[in-house]
Amino acid sequence: MFGLYESAFGALTWGNILMLLIGGLLIYLGIAKKMEPILLVPIGFGIIAVNLPLGGLMVFTAEGIPAEVSTFTGAVKAIGSGDLGVMNILYTYGIESEVIPLLIFLGIGTLTDFTPTIARPLSMVFGGTAQLGISIAFLIAFFSGMFTINEAVCVGIIGGSDGPPTVYTTAALAPQLLGPIVLIAYSYMALVPILQPPIIKLLTTKKERAIYMKPQVRKVSRLELTFFPIIIFIVAALLVPKSVPLIGMFMFGNLLRVSGVTERLAHAAGGVFLDVLTFLLGLTVGVLMPAEVFLKPQTLAIVGLAIVAFAFSTAGGIWGAKIVNLFLKEKINPMIGAAGVSAIPMSARVVQKLGQEANPRNFLLMHAMGPNMAGAIATSVHAGIFLGMLLPSISG
């Protein structure tokens, strides 16, 4: 009646309506509550776009998401005839090919300051121990019988609390779960200030939370800052070769930042370039969530498992710091281990806040930023190990 030949009302399902509400809720949370707005607003809009029937922005078939076209003309024809949506092309060549998550990580590298990690290299260990939630969530997901091994790994990686490795791993191992996993991962990252404090309080005594650490970390020279990304890249590449794309992009971005001679490149990679990639990622993830794909028991299970992953990753960081404390003369505040759950910089801020509550003299932010940055490296390493185990090996 309203369209020239057809209207979408007849094709609208209750699932679509529910998804429209979810999309609207995400946009509301992004705009009104400022919860990860850079991602939640495009994701919300993408969800609305894909759940308005007959639009053809993203085409799903029984076999999955079609996109392969041999020529540019072929793509234009396929889009024109409705066999393919514009977002199919963006998904296949941007996300499935891993280009967008990797370039986003490059941009994030240009915005990352490793000074606190270099000043206290021991932070690297807490970044590692704070990946515990990945393993625990994997086990629960797998034994629930709702997920295959690859899917369970991707659910677990949410516990790393780092966006690009999550997108990268899921696009490679379980692309069918990309929408819900990315949405839930980013939503929980925004909820770190609510999720982490009770877990930290449960696992530490007030006396431990009050442990005083001198507020300033040591000076770090430009030479150290320049060497750091190169060293980390080489170590990770030699030990876990499959982590090279993630760590390589992250460290290359950071090298652009600290080298002192490539400021223009760093500005470009961390500025508008990063913004464009981020909204493309958000929009593409959003259109991966039509009602028939998103409204499944698996999605609800991921919501629950993500909490488990966050909780055990926080615990892993704290336990790591407590174990290290057994060998240190000058004790560290074990809460800084919890910041190994990367979620930069929210988890470091949580530690700072709880530290001041327990001891007003404490100023833990810089100490917590060390494990926070290390957590991003550790999640990339973990993702690389998973890919090495589960992807068919390739040479070169």
């Binding site: 990690t117 000043a119 390493v381």
Partner: protein
């Protein structure tokens, strides 16, 4: 059939290896930092930079 060896590796070894890689990275970063601090004089820029 479920490959229980793979499940055990994914659940346990991957985390252990991650911690190990991070510990090795810690040692290497610490040693390189120590060498740089002992051998290279701070530049004017380094002296002027704020702590942290």
């Amino acid at each position: 059939m479920t490959d229980w060896n793979l499940i055990a590796n994914i659940a346990g070894s991957t985390w252990g290896i991650t911690v190990l890689v991070c510990a090795i990275a810690w040692l290497v970063a610490w040693v390189v930092g120590l060498v740089i601090q002992k051998t290279v004089k701070p530049t004017t820029e380094d002296k002027n930079s704020t702590k942290g």
